[in-house]
């Protein structure tokens, strides 16, 4: 510093400049609701990742889980599940109605919830209750390419990323949380501790995705195929 002294005026201004910066920063944070964490999920190439699930598990207290009365809906339409990713809390219910003209045989062999609903059309009799946390992969025993995921969480704080790759989790009591990000093609779940009170509200998560290793729906062959 001494070898290259700043102009005297600039030196006197420096502490006040830093103070203003800090003030502005705190003021900016204070403008956002303190109970919101915005998670930006990007892949290795910096591209936004949609249909990723971000969840915050409170570390300072037991999570208060409010099971919704209404079941989540995964529709079977045009021999595909929709949506492909559904998030429920432990104890959450899901109905999987069949809107196709053909029958489906929905099953899961995932440890978190094993079930199968043999060939059926239309509405289900009873919704499926997901009572253990974990990732449940749904398939159709008739149509190998059909795949959907039910992410069962032991926390009410979660969000699914949109096309822009952002998942916004609101109504967060202050405190420390474990931020988890999952995606159907993720090579390993990302876990990060976040203090909602002090850490930046926007968390950027880079994930590594693998190729989709499911059975692909083959294009229809020939003009004489049954429709």
């Amino acid at each position: 510093m001494n070898s290259n002294p700043l102009p005297a005026a600039r030196r006197r201004l420096l502490p006040s400049f830093l103070f203003l910066c800090l003030l502005g920063h705190l003021g900016g944070a204070a403008l956002l609701p303190a109970s919101v964490v915005r998670v930006e999920i990007k892949d290795g190439k910096g591209q936004p990742v949609a249909d990723a699930v971000a969840s915050l598990v409170p570390l300072d207290r037991a999570p208060v889980i409010d099971v919704p009365a209404e079941p989540a809906v995964i529709v079977q339409d045009n021999e595909e599940f929709s949506p492909t990713v559904t998030v429920v809390v432990v104890g959450g219910k899901v109905v999987i109605p069949n809107r196709d003209k053909v029958q489906h045989h929905v099953y899961s062999l995932s440890p978190a919830k094993r079930f199968d609903i043999p060939l059926y059309k239309g509405e289900m009799k009873d919704p499926v209750v997901f009572d253990r946390p974990g990732i449940v992969a749904l398939g159709c025993n008739i149509h190998d390419w059909m795949a959907a995921y039910v992410v069962v969480l032991a926390t009410p704080h979660f969000a699914k990323s949109e096309a822009a790759g952002t998942a916004q989790i609101a109504n967060l009591p202050p405190g420390r949380y474990r931020l988890e990000v999952w995606h159907q093609r993720i090579t390993a779940p990302v876990v990060r501790e976040v203090n909602v009170s002090s850490d930046p509200a926007t968390q950027v998560i880079a994930v590594t995705l693998r190729e989709l290793r499911q059975i692909r729906r083959a294009p229809e062959t020939g003009g004489g195929a049954y429709r």
Partner: protein
């Protein structure tokens, strides 16, 4: 027939043989080399094809097996077994899959690669498939191919995922690479295959045991980088190629492909032996051709040699009856020309001998017909037929010539008998030389003796003429010895050997003096001749006479018989 001059025939034979032999051998060697290279290239191509074929057949079969196994695993119950932990039931399910997919081996692996069940008698270590699992995890389609050794048997393996609908487990299916599989591959390409384990022990082969044993012994010395290597296996030469068995993973053994070079070269060998036959035929043809040609060339040469010998003996009557148009024909022609030329020259020589004396002819042939001469002592004899003028008036010319020739012939004979040389005939007169062109020590004595002999010969001729009723002839002979110039006298184109000088005129003058009646003699010689002749004759001095154009008078003598 005499044996041909060996050298030419033998040389020609050697030339023909070496030309034909070298050409044939060069062709043979070239074709052999070409065939060898060609066979190697063909075999290498076939080895390439077989290498690719093996990879493709294995891959296709693996893919089919994997598909069949995947179909079997689609069953919800089977899928549930893969998802559950009932390994005993899973093992029995694998048996069903093995049967339905026609695989030789099926194994079920947990997602982490742990072996849960397999259709193999003993327990299978996780390590057996660890490489496949690692590579399947890394591959986009979550599968991997490789090889494995189980119970001493080589298997081609494929690892495929079990979906539900995510990958929940792995399934390994494989088929055994045994002698039957190797034979099926050989049926497609005709190439022999042998599979070795990493320790170099043969696992499956299409080869006869003896060949396989040799190949096994040779394996460590072969190189995987070489496109192929030559090896002698059970007595036959083969091209062998070895490649690692890996299919992208760890090495599980060695594949050896081979094709018998000897077998490939069989058609070439047949062609080569035929060519050798043609070569031998060509050599034999060359022998006959060269012998015939040599004979065709040497026979006229032998004939010419015979003709040359006859010509040497002076027989010019030989003519070569040659109808050839080649160089030998031209030689024959030239030979005939030469023969004609020699005959012509001999005739000329003969005529020369008749027109000039043999001594002059010999001198001409020796020294050539050049002008010029030398001074030497010569005895000159002049003889003249007396009363020839009267005779010529009374006789018809033809008879006169006959008579004259008869006379000249007798006279010439006497002169030549005494070593004289007829210089020339001047009408009925004879000029003869003694001591020229060949020097004679007793030239003068010979000349005088010749003159007396001529007198006697004429007397004999007169007796004959009298018997014929003709009048007798008479001669006069003059002999002089003097230093004269002897040599060729005349023009460049025509010349005579003769002598000139005062002594010649004196001799002529002495001859004409014989007509002087009071001398009563037919032969007059000069004192010089008499001196040189050592007087052994009956001489009679006649005094001295003046000779026209000569200052000193000449002392003359008559010689009486």
């Amino acid at each position: 027939m005499k044996f041909l001059p060996q050298s030419f025939g033998a040389k020609l034979l050697a030339l023909f043989m070496s030309a034909v032999g070298l050409t044939q051998f060069a062709t043979w060697a070239f074709i052999r080399e070409f065939n060898g290279t060609q066979a190697r290239e063909l075999i290498n191509d076939e080895l390439d094809r077989t290498t690719r074929n093996f990879a493709r057949v294995t891959a296709d079969r693996n893919t089919l097996l994997a598909a069949a196994a995947a179909t079997a695993a689609r069953d919800y119950a089977v899928k549930s077994l893969f998802a559950g932990d009932d390994d005993a039931t899973l093992a029995t399910a694998l048996k069903s899959i093995r049967i339905s997919s026609t695989a030789d081996l099926v194994a079920a692996l947990a997602l982490d690669g742990k072996v849960r069940a397999a259709t193999l008698p003993g327990p299978v270590p996780d390590a057996a498939f660890a490489d496949l699992v690692r590579r399947a995890h890394a591959s986009p389609d979550a599968s991997a191919k490789g090889y494995g050794l189980f119970g001493g048997e080589l298997h081609a393996l494929v690892l495929a995922p079990v979906h539900a609908p995510d990958i929940i487990a792995w399934m390994v299916v494989g088929f055994r690479i045994d002698d039957a599989f190797a034979r099926r591959l050989k049926e497609q390409t005709g190439i022999d295959l042998t599979f070795f384990d990493p320790a170099g022990r043969p696992l499956a082969t299409t080869l006869a045991p003896a060949v396989a044993r040799d190949l096994t012994a040779l394996l460590p010395s072969l190189h995987e980088a070489a496109s192929s290597e030559e090896a002698v296996l059970a007595g036959t030469t083969a091209l062998v190629r070895i490649r690692p068995l890996a299919a992208g993973g760890a090495r599980s053994g060695t594949l050896a492909l081979q094709y018998s070079l000897d077998e490939k070269l069989v058609p070439a060998e047949i062609a080569q032996s035929r060519q050798l036959l043609v070569a031998v035929g060509g050599m034999i043809a060359a022998i006959f051709l060269s012998l015939a040609f040599a004979r065709g060339v040497t026979r006229p040469i032998v004939e010419l040699v015979g003709h040359t010998r006859r010509i040497t003996r002076g027989d010019y009557s030989i003519r070569n009856r040659s109808y050839r148009t080649d160089e030998l024909g031209r030689l024959s022609e030239a030979f005939d020309q030469m023969s004609l030329g020699l005959a012509e020259r001999d005739r000329v020589r003969d005529l020369l001998d008749k027109n000039v004396s043999p001594e002059v002819a010999a001198q001409l042939l020796r020294d050539g017909a050049t002008l010029g001469g030398e001074e030497r002592e010569v005895t000159i004899l002049f003889a003249d037929l007396r009363g020839f003028t009267t005779l010529s008036e009374n006789l018809p010319p033809r008879e006169l010539l006959t008579l004259l020739n008869r006379y000249l012939d007798r006279m010439s004979a006497e002169i030549e008998a005494h070593g004289g040389v007829i210089d020339k005939f001047i009408g009925d007169a004879i000029m003869a030389l003694f001591g020229a062109p060949v020097p004679q020590g007793d030239a003068a004595r010979r000349a005088v003796a010749a003159a007396l002999a001529m007198e006697r010969a004429l007397a004999k001729l007169n007796t004959e003429l009298a018997a014929e009723g003709r009048p007798p002839l008479a001669i006069g002979v003059g002999v002089n010895t003097a230093r004269v110039v002897a040599g060729n006298i005349g023009s460049q184109r025509r010349l005579n050997y003769s002598v000139i000088g005062d002594g010649v005129n004196v001799a002529s003058r002495l001859q004409s003096l014989t007509r002087t009646a009071e001398y009563r003699t037919n032969v007059i010689v000069s004192a010089a001749t008499l001196r040189a002749a050592q007087p052994t004759f009956n001489t009679r001095p006649l005094g001295t006479v003046a000779v026209k154009g000569r200052a000193e008078p000449v002392e003359i003598f008559a010689i009486d018989a």
